[in-house]
């Protein structure tokens, strides 16, 4: 059986806050799950959920209060394992006195590549992230999006087995986001594992084999995006058309969106047939009935307590 790419075993991190009397604040609470090799794994959560803390623990930038984690079977303090991993920090910042080419060459030296191989890799990866034309530009002149791109290049420059990306789409325009998505998919095709944190849920939904959702440092769920959102059916959308001179019953109309003679209604799953009967009774022609598929965003909103308005319930209409 293949070694998991990443294993979390009760990983916990407390920060101490306060000036005189330091009190512990739990940033990460007994995180336990694993990521298999070859997966694209999304690490989701709102700001302050503990995503960056988790990545910093994995990179050995901070140390756990309790628990442990392993990458490719190696403990986190094993620096040799770093040959097989790449990391893009959140809002990366690099030595601004270096050019893009010099920065990548500098990082490539840590992997023992010879001069010719460094030159080839640096050029190839600069082109890959769309910075070929800016290779000789000092990093102090880079925009946020360009820094993000050079950050991604340095993370994958040495063909790592596991790539950790902290908010990789941050600061990128739509073209840049598309390019990064392609890079991530390309890494998966090469059999590499990608573990990335994001709060752009559409990206996670589009890319990830599995996701984990973190809230206030606690793991709320792990699974495929479909599994995560399949909590319950949210309802159906009915498109109906009324003949001229006919109106929807007032209670139904209050919850419908009208465009010309067409009406759009969202109904909860148990109320679908009652709503259809009510529409037929008032002479409506049913144009379509579509099941509303819940998105990761719906799940996310529900989780953080900012739930979207509930679908319209028919029984209130009938009364």
């Amino acid at each position: 059986m293949a070694i998991p790419a990443i294993e979390f075993e009760g990983l916990t991190k407390d920060y101490f806050v306060g000036f005189w009397r330091k009190r512990p604040r739990r940033a990460l609470d007994a995180l336990t799950f694993q990521v298999d090799q070859g997966e694209i794994f999304g690490f989701l959560g709102p700001n302050g959920a503990g995503k960056t803390t988790t990545l910093k623990l994995l990179m050995g930038l901070t140390f756990p209060t309790a628990g442990a984690a392993r990458i490719l079977g190696c403990p986190l303090d094993d620096v040799r394992m770093h040959r097989d991993i790449g990391y893009l920090p959140e809002q990366p910042y690099f030595y601004d006195y270096l050019t893009a080419r010099e920065l990548l060459d500098y990082f490539a030296r840590f992997f023992g590549f010879g001069a010719a191989e460094r030159r080839e890799r640096v050029s190839r990866f600069l082109e890959m992230v769309g910075l070929g034309a800016a290779a000789g530009l000092p990093l102090r002149k880079f925009s946020k999006g360009m820094l993000q791109r050079i950050g991604i290049a340095q993370a994958i420059l040495h063909d790592p087995q596991v790539v950790f990306l902290d908010e990789p789409m941050s600061g990128l325009d739509p073209v840049g986001r598309r390019e990064v998505r392609d890079i991530i998919l390309n890494l998966k095709q090469q059999g590499r594992t990608v573990f990335f944190s994001t709060h752009i849920l559409s990206d996670a939904e589009m890319l990830c084999d599995r996701v984990a959702v973190l809230l206030n440092g606690k793991l709320e769920g792990v699974g495929s995006p479909e599994q995560i959102v399949a909590i319950e059916g949210q309802g159906s959308e009915i498109l109906a058309e009324l003949p001229a001179g006919r109106d929807l019953p007032s209670l139904l109309a209050a919850h419908a969106t009208r465009t010309g003679s067409r009406y759009r209604l969202e109904v909860a799953e148990p109320d679908l047939y009652d709503a259809l009967d009510a529409l037929r009774a008032c002479g409506a022609r049913i144009l379509s009935v579509t099941q509303l598929k819940p998105t990761l965003e719906d799940y996310f909103f529900k989780l953080v307590g900012r739930q979207k308005p509930a679908p319209f319930a028919v029984e209130t209409v009938e009364r």
């Binding site: 990179m59 790449g86 990366p92």
Partner: protein, 256 residues
């Protein structure tokens, strides 16, 4: 891996125009060479060597302290360290590289200033004497002193802000220069405990007076080989201990 960091640290210093201080040194040496003959008769060499070596020491000290205190702090503050530490490099190797990089910068700076001093000396003396070799030994001692200061600044840089680190490092430098006086203070008080404390302080503090041979070099006095070895061993030992403490501190530090 430390050498990769060292070369980059050197490159950073050069691109930050740190070596521009050489222009001030060159101007100082030129002015001294021109005016020293007019205001002093027969002691031109002494004045030039004294002034030159003191300037080399001072310029080096300022560089070592002000760059040294930011070596690690700046990388933590700007988070450039995040990407670097995800590469196969230990924190102790990173520290060693930072130390070596600044030392290399100081060595290049000192070597170029020494050339400036030699040119000024040649201008006033019209020839080099055998006794001038002691100037090179004095320069070497200045470099040893700078290595100690760099290590101290680096240590403070691992856990403190630059401003506090400057204060700590300069305080230790002053205390280190006064180390022999602190030791002689103990017996004067006649108190055994105080004597024990002052003796302890004498051995614990970096003894910078060991490295001050500017006056001897200015007067052309030879410096015994044994002293060169002793000072080299003392500096190497002291630097090694400070770097070990710095590595232990930094290796356990949670980065913000």
């Amino acid at each position: 891996m430390a050498w990769v960091v060292a070369i980059n640290t050197f490159r950073e210093a050069v691109r930050d125009r740190v070596l521009y201080n050489l222009i001030f040194f060159a101007l100082l040496m030129m002015a001294a060479a021109v005016f020293v003959g007019q205001i002093s008769v027969g002691i031109e060499r002494i004045v030039i060597v004294n002034l030159g070596l003191s300037a080399i020491s001072l310029f080096g000290l300022v560089m070592a302290v002000f760059i040294g205190v930011g070596l690690v702090y700046k990388e933590m503050d700007k988070r450039t360290l995040y990407s670097l530490l995800s590469k196969p490099i230990r924190r102790s190797e990173f520290l060693l590289g930072k130390f070596a990089g600044l030392l290399l910068t100081l060595a290049v700076n000192t070597a170029l200033m020494t050339l400036g001093l030699a040119a000024a000396l040649f201008y006033v003396s019209r020839a080099f004497a055998r006794a001038d070799f002691s100037i090179l030994v004095a320069v070497y001692f200045i470099l040893l002193e700078l290595a100690l200061v760099t290590a101290l600044a680096l240590l403070f840089s691992c856990f403190s802000t630059p401003l506090l680190s400057i204060a700590f490092t300069l305080s230790l430098c002053v205390a280190g220069v006064l180390a022999p006086d602190i030791r002689s203070l103990g017996p004067i008080t006649g108190s055994r405990p105080i004597e024990a404390v002052t003796t302890l302080l004498y051995y614990a503090l970096p003894n910078f007076s060991n490295f001050n041979f500017i006056a001897a070099a200015a007067h052309g006095r030879s410096i015994p080989l044994s002293l060169i070895f002793e000072n080299s061993a003392y500096a190497a030992g002291y630097v090694a201990v400070i770097l070990l403490v710095a590595a232990a501190t930094f290796s356990n530090r949670n980065l913000k």
